[in-house]
């Protein structure tokens, strides 16, 4: 028996399959996009909402809508909030400054091939792979004023022991050093990637024109590297802004007994986990979020401006 030729009926399944085929990228990425959106949108929305309430002690208790009171409280608080903002800026700017300079030096040293380059690169990158909390604990021991290795080493060359993390005046700077120790390699890595992508010709041309090494670096390399440098500042800057692990691991709650390393992050953490002030903590976090957005925006503008 032979089947009479008929136009095949397109089943629902077949239709879906065709549709899915045409929109493959959305179908595949869809679930994770929905998931990510929910994971971002719900907590963010909830935090914004909580920031307008007087929620404290437990979010399962009744609370009232109080408008911008929490924001007013935070923005007029010169005891904890503004000093935290100051420390956040100081820490971020300090860390970024040294990381960029050292990162650039390391990148330039690693730029041209030399014997044993692989080993040197590995050693330089080592701090990057350590967990920040472990790094914090390690430096806390090393900087211990009485039995720590750092003071021991100083004593070999006749330098008096320093208080490092123990003194409120030096603790934040000491932590900038720790951050620089850990994150300079990442900046170096980004800058090195930028350097390797630079055209040889411009350097050659500069050399022919009689520019010395410094001039070639300052007037040729740096301008060409500007987008990469801004990318490094963006990536590392946002990370440094929200540093928490090493601050908490070395100085504990509240940024230490005198709040000497209390950045915005540590402050917001303390507000919600120690004081159970969920409303105020949310408002502080939103303010922090806005600061980060503003920084990103400025840097992006910079980059776009340069590119165009």
């Amino acid at each position: 028996m032979t089947a009479s030729p008929t136009v095949p009926e397109v089943g629902a399944r077949e239709r879906f399959s065709r549709w899915a085929d045409r929109h493959r990228k959305w179908v595949l990425a869809g679930p994770s996009m929905v998931f990510t959106l929910l994971m971002l949108a719900i907590p963010l929305g909830w935090t914004i909402y909580l920031g307008f309430t007087d929620s404290k002690r437990s979010v399962r208790r009744d609370f009232d809508f109080i408008g911008f009171e929490n924001y007013a409280e935070a923005l007029t608080d010169t005891e904890r909030f503004w000093p935290s903002v100051g420390r956040t800026v100081y820490f971020t700017a300090g860390a970024l400054f040294f990381e960029l300079i050292l990162g650039m030096i390391i990148a330039l040293l690693l730029w041209k091939p030399f014997r044993g380059q692989g080993v040197v690169r590995t050693i330089v990158l080592l701090p990057l792979v350590a967990t920040p909390v472990a790094v914090g604990m390690m430096w806390r021991l090393l900087f211990e004023p009485n039995i720590g290795f750092v003071n021991e080493m100083l004593s070999w060359v006749g330098i008096a022991p320093q208080p490092w993390l123990a003194d409120p005046a030096t603790s934040l700077s000491t932590l900038i050093f720790v951050d620089v120790w850990q994150w300079t390699p990442m900046v170096a890595l980004i800058l090195l990637a930028g350097l390797t992508g630079l055209p040889e010709e411009t350097q050659e041309a500069a050399r022919v024109d009689g520019a010395n090494a410094w001039q070639r670096f300052w007037f040729v390399t740096v301008p060409l590297m500007r987008p990469v440098i801004i990318a490094a500042v963006l990536l590392r800057g946002i990370d440094a802004l929200k540093t928490f692990d090493i601050l908490y691991a070395t100085k504990g709650k509240g940024g230490g007994s005198s709040h000497d390393v209390e950045t915005l992050n540590v402050y917001a953490y303390g507000l919600s986990f120690d004081y159970n002030e969920y409303g105020l903590a949310s408002a502080v976090l939103i303010l922090f979020f806005l600061i980060i957005l503003a920084v990103i925006w400025v840097l992006q503008m910079q980059r776009k401006g340069r590119e165009s």
Binding site: L38, M39, I42, P43, W46, R57, S58, V59, R60, R61, D62, F63, E144, P145, N146, I147, P161, P163, L165, A166, P168, K251, G252, K253, G254, G256, S257, S258, S272, F273, D274, Y275, N276
Partner: protein
């Protein structure tokens, strides 16, 4: 993150609680049957790093064998434990059945939030287990609004740890007053410039509990009977100054301003200090040769007397409670009942845990392995002891930071009076808000 994995479930639970956050949580607790068969059930117990935890872990296989239930332990450091509770209980999790908590630190907050199940009927209904056998002070600390919400498991008092060899070398008797303690610390440091006469907690919050023994012994207190700040009384000012001077003036070392007990103990354990006053429940850290280089030379004494006599704290530092949101209250209660039974507490006592049952303290067997001097000190401290070591408020962490501020100033050698004035004002504002 895998769907259905633990973190995913926590996030899901948190999100749901967030969405429903404004709605009052209404939990209709199922009747708890203390005799229910719990074979095959898994009881999830969250515990802190503590001698008690190490000891109960040795005994838990017996419980599992007896009941056929399985005990799953999550063990965390104090701060992490606290953070876990904050996140999970806020989200209304049912993933914690039994929780080890600090009645003085979080008891009021958790009970007020409705996180802790009411155990009154269960505790009072079991004559054999015998709630009346628990020491009065500790039992009061785990009771909130006339409801029993927890069972005290560890009690502690401030005890004075000292170095026998150093005292002998200096020809000194064990100090019985705070003045003598100060003089002894000075003399020993003079003789041994590398050794601190006295070491203690220095961290703002951490120091509060140990400082309380000094405060009470000077005749001061945290809060007046009218619920106002009492930290600016003359007695309290003297206590702040004394504690700061005691730590600062008898040492040549740089003082680490963030010390809690592990750091302060480490100094003593390394032979770098002559005296430390801290919780007696931690004594094994001093006498265990694997942790302490001066294990053989550690002496114990009752807390020295100040102007108002010797008034160390005598408190329940930890208790066990049931998460009100759990669906396994039967099993949870059976675990608590077993862990706090006379027999288990006796066993635990033999392992070095100072429990909360009167009958166990009266049993000579229970404390046979304790150093004699320590038992003597515990007895004396127990008689003089005050039932609190920190302000009894809801938001304890915040209160500790406020009243701890002058301690830090005193240790740093700053203007204590000014610090006390500022702290007293802040404390008054805090107390008014906390009472709302």
């Amino acid at each position: 993150m895998k769907y259905g994995s633990k973190p995913a479930r926590v996030i899901a639970a948190a999100s749901i609680a967030m969405v429903a956050g404004a709605l009052a949580s209404c939990s209709s607790a199922p009747e708890v049957d203390p005799e229910a068969g719990i074979e095959g059930q898994t009881i999830r117990v969250t515990l802190a790093n503590h001698v008690w935890t190490e000891s109960i872990k040795e005994l838990i296989p017996e419980f599992e064998k007896e009941t056929g239930a399985k005990v799953e332990i999550t063990q965390l450091a104090e701060d992490q434990l606290s953070d876990q509770y904050n996140v999970k209980l806020n989200a209304g999790t049912d993933e914690i059945d039994v929780m080890m908590y600090r009645p003085l630190q979080e008891g009021k907050l958790f009970a007020d939030n409705g996180y802790l199940a009411d155990l009154t009927d269960l505790a009072e209904g079991d004559k054999e287990w015998d709630w009346s056998d628990f020491q009065k002070g500790p039992a009061e600390l785990t009771t909130y609004d006339d409801e029993i919400v927890g069972v005290p498991i560890i009690t502690e008092r401030t005890v004075l740890y000292y170095r026998k060899d150093l005292l002998e070398k200096a020809g000194l008797e064990v100090p019985t007053t705070l003045e003598e303690l100060d003089a002894a610390a000075a003399k020993i440091h003079e003789q041994n410039p590398d050794i601190a006469g006295y070491i203690g907690r220095t961290g703002k919050s951490a120091a509060v509990t140990q400082f309380s023994a000094f405060l009470f012994s000077f005749g001061g207190k945290w809060i007046t009977d009218d619920g106002e700040s009492a930290i600016d009384s003359d007695e309290a000012r003297d206590a702040y100054k004394f504690y700061g001077d005691l730590i600062r003036t008898h040492t040549s070392a740089t003082i680490n301003p963030e010390m809690s007990w592990p750091e302060a103990f480490a100094v003593f354990q390394q032979g770098k200090a002559a005296f430390i006053a801290d919780a007696d429940s931690l004594y094994k850290n001093m006498t265990d040769p694997s942790q302490s280089t001066v294990a053989d030379n550690v002496g114990f004494a009752a807390f020295p007397a100040g102007d108002a006599g010797a008034k160390p704290y005598n408190i329940a530092s930890w208790g066990l409670a049931i998460n009100d949101a759990t669906e396994k209250k039967d099993a949870a209660w059976q675990f608590i009942e077993w862990a706090t039974s006379k027999q288990t507490m006796l066993e635990m006592s033999k392992l070095g845990v100072s429990g909360s049952r009167t009958s166990v303290w009266d049993d000579a067997d229970a404390t046979a392995d304790y150093p004699d001097e320590l038992i003597e000190a515990i007895k004396v401290n127990g008689e003089n002891g005050v039932g609190q070591d920190r302000p009894l408020v809801i938001q304890v962490a915040q209160a500790r930071e406020i009243v701890g501020d002058p301690i830090v100033t005193a240790i740093a050698g700053g203007d204590v009076d000014a610090a006390v004035d500022t702290a007293a004002k802040a404390f008054d504002e805090f107390l008014a808000e906390d009472a709302e």
